[in-house]
């Protein structure tokens, strides 16, 4: 098993180092001025209303308008509680044995319309998000309400202090507050207005949003960090056609690619055409995974679910579908892309990570034990979203399943129907992609594996695992917590709750004159553009 894994990792390391050599020196003195032309693959799906959306198509272009309380250090690719730095909060402090999280806010911060920023805005935002009894406003869609389920109250004792009172200790809360999905809204404007316009505190102010065409920002002259931003303007261009987007980047009409957009093949083509382009392989926080409805036959049978997990050759999928642009891993991203993932050694103990032929034999045995007779394949219907990245993965999986005696027919589901179908459980087996707003066990495990969660599409529910999830959530010792998180990942993979096939890699591309834009191993958390400058 190891002999097969090592060459793969070796090749990946070579590719990584080849691209890393092209990384720009970040030690030059920043220059002010200039405009950055940035790629968008579609229009802003919910305007600037990040709290009503869960797509990078909203977060990436809307981020420069807004600020968080805290953020992941823009200069560091890896994200963890250790890389969190202040944003609207200058300092923060855990108190009362992690039961209270206190933020000390910056003074003299102004909203783009001139109103002063204060703790009222923070309280307004989080009361709205957690839909507390005193919530002053309601979002029409609130996808991350569960992130704040442990917050008992948000208090604003004075204009520059905010206290989060928790029901129990939860160190993860800080990471979720640092996520690109957690900007602070202004209390004096209706939340609905963010769908069409943006009153933020961010380094850039919206100049014009031409629907379906472009979004223009200009520098916020009153930004609370003196001398920032460096750039005069940002110009986001919506280009729907992938070939045209790549051509625009190659021709220099765009300076920055869209996160998660550049495949390995495209990166190699770009590098060949324009050798000076800076291409950085980074994690995307997006996994390919298999959802199986554990409430319906045949996947209510653990042996059948495990057979599916054993049957799929993860490394084969990474090579065939992503041309090598992925890494194997369980629920959490492995190092160096995340901090909670399982090591290669641990992964080798899980279903589907061994020698493909052995794994397939094991799958056949499990199917036989489940009553599937040789020569009489198990016929199932596999659903996937009618989007190329989903369909490519699903096609590979179907071929793998066929080799062990599961004949799956592919049914493509339109985006409009996908989540409703999955939430209702109107499917047997599905090829799915899952993005995580933050590399954090609470954000992932509660959302995708907790009993009763609307996004637990497999309906997996194990009381013991729930207890383990709650336990890790309260664990204050990072080492102990990591061990607990790894144990949980092992459990859920062994139950084939939602077998993860790989973690996708993006080849984030910028022109060499773009400085200080460090792509993170999570596409959602590096779009503020506060420190980015142009050496053009």
């Amino acid at each position: 098993m190891r002999s097969r894994a090592l060459p793969f990792l070796g090749v990946f390391a070579v590719v990584l180092s080849t691209f890393a050599l092209a990384a720009p020196a970040q030690s030059q003195t920043p220059k002010s001025g200039g405009t950055l032309n940035i790629m968008l693959r579609e229009d802003l799906s919910q305007g600037f209303a990040i709290h009503e959306s869960s797509t990078i198509s909203t977060v990436f272009p809307a981020a420069p308008c807004l600020n968080n309380l805290v953020q992941f250090d823009p200069a560091k690719a890896i994200e963890s509680t250790d890389t969190i730095v202040g944003d609207l909060a200058e300092k923060w402090s855990w108190q009362d044995n992690y039961r209270n999280l206190v933020f000390f806010l910056r003074k003299n911060v102004k909203w783009h319309d001139g109103h002063p920023f204060s703790s009222k805005d923070v309280k307004f935002t989080f009361d709205m998000l957690r839909e507390g009894p005193e919530a002053p406003a309601k979002l029409r869609i609130n996808p991350r309400k569960d992130w704040y389920a442990n917050v008992e109250a948000v208090e604003a004792p004075d204009p520059y202090t905010v206290v989060f009172r928790l029901k129990r200790p939860q160190p993860s809360l800080l990471s979720m507050i640092a996520s690109g999905y957690t900007p602070i809204y202004a209390a004096h404007v209706p939340p609905a207005s963010y769908r069409t316009s943006c009153v933020g505190t961010g380094p850039f102010k919206v100049k014009e949003w031409r629907k379906g065409e472009y979004l223009d920002y200009v520098k916020n002259p009153d930004y609370f960090i003196k001398g920032r931003p460096y750039l005069d303007a940002l110009h986001y261009v919506v280009i729907v056609e992938r070939g045209t987007r790549t051509a625009a980047l190659q021709a220099g009409q765009l300076d920055v690619a869209f996160p998660g957009e550049t495949t390995k093949a495209a990166a190699e083509q770009l590098k060949k055409a324009v050798p000076q382009l800076v291409i950085t392989p980074v994690g995307t926080a997006v996994t390919d995974n298999i959802i199986m409805n554990s409430k319906k036959p045949p996947f209510d049978n653990l042996k059948v679910r495990l057979a599916v997990s054993y049957a799929i050759d993860r490394k084969g999928l990474i090579q065939a579908v992503h041309q090598g642009a992925g890494v194997p891993g369980a629920a959490m991203a492995p190092r160096p892309y995340g901090v909670w993932g399982m090591t290669e050694k641990d992964l080798l103990t899980l279903p589907g990570y061994g020698k493909p032929a052995d794994m397939k034999d094991k799958a056949k045995k499990l199917l036989a034990e489940a009553g599937v007779k040789p020569g009489q394949p198990l016929r199932v219907e596999m659903v996937t979203r009618a989007i190329a990245v989903y369909v490519d993965m699903a096609s590979f999986v179907i071929n793998e399943l066929k080799q062990v005696g599961i004949e799956a027919t592919l049914k493509q589901i339109e985006t409009a129907q996908w989540h409703a179908m999955a939430t209702r459980g109107d499917y047997q087996i599905g090829a799915n992609l899952t993005g995580l707003g933050v590399d954090d066990p609470d954000a992932n495990l509660y959302e995708n594996f907790a009993c009763g969660s609307p996004r637990n599409y497999s309906f997996y529910c194990d009381e013991q695992v729930m207890k383990m999830i709650d336990q890790q959530s309260q664990e204050l010792d990072p080492r102990k917590r990591l061990a607990q998180v790894i144990a949980i990942q092992k459990k859920i993979e062994e139950a084939a709750a939602r077998p993860v096939l790989d973690h996708r890699i993006d080849y984030f591309t910028v022109w060499p004159h773009v400085k200080n834009l460090t792509p993170h191993h999570n596409i959602y958390n590096f779009a503020r553009m506060q420190d980015v400058w142009s050496d053009k």
Partner: protein
């Protein structure tokens, strides 16, 4: 003439009414609605929140009420509100219309400028090397989809010259030269295909006319080739050509989807596809109605032109 135009306008109104029913029903038959899409972008679904949102957008009402409401809005000049952008639909649609009209018109100009002379030359030089070359040229145009040609142009330009036309719309009032550069290539890509059709129609129509007695008479009278072909033959061969031009123009209004997408032009067709994907009913319904109006008007104009080109054509009362 006036009676004929009035008759046509009444028929046009009835056609539009029929179209409105068709598009309304087809949109509702498509699986999912804007609320499903909004929840899809949020990555979850909540039946109670879904119901509240449907009520907020008014799509929980019976279809008949929704349809009548839309008709009332159209008649009063209010096109409703875009679900996706939370803005008046007209505000969203307005900037798109001139882009598509200009691209379609420019494409037709190229198509006529290339297609008609090529068709004439091909007919006059029938069965010569030049005729064969022109026929191959036209066949290639018909065989190559405009979007494929567009993509080849983009990729060729970026590979050879490291340049592509501007990908953000440049207004003619801001920079006319850049504006024309932006429209030139997509118009050529689309115009080439249309020119092929026009060339073939012109050729066959002209060949037919050239065999008429009055053309033989003109030759016998000793008139020059230019007069015989351009004044006598071509004028009479133009009726089917004009028909094709009208049909092509109407087709282009809704058929430029991929060309607008490849060249990133913010036109009606590209936006319509996005609006359909988002189930943005007010935008889709009104854009389709706009396309239908253009198709009907271009057909009417073509019919009017028949009378100008051929004095024998009379419009009945």
């Amino acid at each position: 003439m006036k009676t004929y135009v009035l008759q046509r306008l009444v028929i046009a109104l009835l056609t539009l009414l029929g179209m409105s029913v068709v598009i309304f029903v087809l949109l509702r038959l498509a699986p999912g609605d804007i609320v499903d899409i909004l929840f899809a972008t949020a990555g979850y679904i909540s039946p109670s929140e879904k119901q509240a949102l449907m009520k907020e957008l008014g799509i929980d009402r019976p279809y008949v009420i929704q349809y009548l409401d839309w008709l009332r809005q159209v008649v009063t000049g209010d096109l409703g509100k875009s679900y996706r952008y939370d803005l008046p639909a007209w505000e969203v649609i307005r900037p798109l219309v001139p882009v598509t009209l200009e691209l379609a018109a420019l494409s037709m100009v190229f198509a006529v400028l290339i297609g008609v002379p090529a068709g004439v030359v091909s007919a006059v030089r029938q069965d010569t090397t030049l005729d064969y070359l022109l026929r191959v040229f036209s066949l290639a145009g018909l065989s190559m989809p405009a979007f494929w040609l567009g993509m080849v142009i983009i990729l060729g330009l970026v590979s050879w010259f490291a340049w592509i036309p501007p990908l953000t719309y440049v207004s003619p009032t801001k920079d006319l030269k850049l504006h024309l550069i932006q429209f030139l290539l997509p118009a050529l890509a689309v115009g080439y295909r249309s020119s092929a059709l026009i060339m073939r129609i012109t050729r066959s129509s002209l060949l037919e006319v050239m065999r008429e007695d009055y053309i033989r008479t003109a030759w016998a009278k000793g008139q020059t080739g230019r007069i015989v072909i351009w004044r006598h033959a071509l004028k009479n061969a133009l009726l089917p050509v004009v028909t094709v031009i009208g049909i092509e123009f109407a087709f282009l209004i809704g058929g430029l989807v991929v060309t607008e997408t490849v060249f990133n032009l913010p036109g009606v067709a590209r936006f319509l596809v996005q609006a359909i994907l988002w189930r943005d009913y007010p935008v889709v319904q009104n854009l389709v109605m706009f396309t239908a109006i253009v198709v009907i008007l271009s057909n009417l104009i073509v019919d009017m032109l028949y009378g100008v080109l051929d004095p024998r054509v009379r419009y009945g009362g």
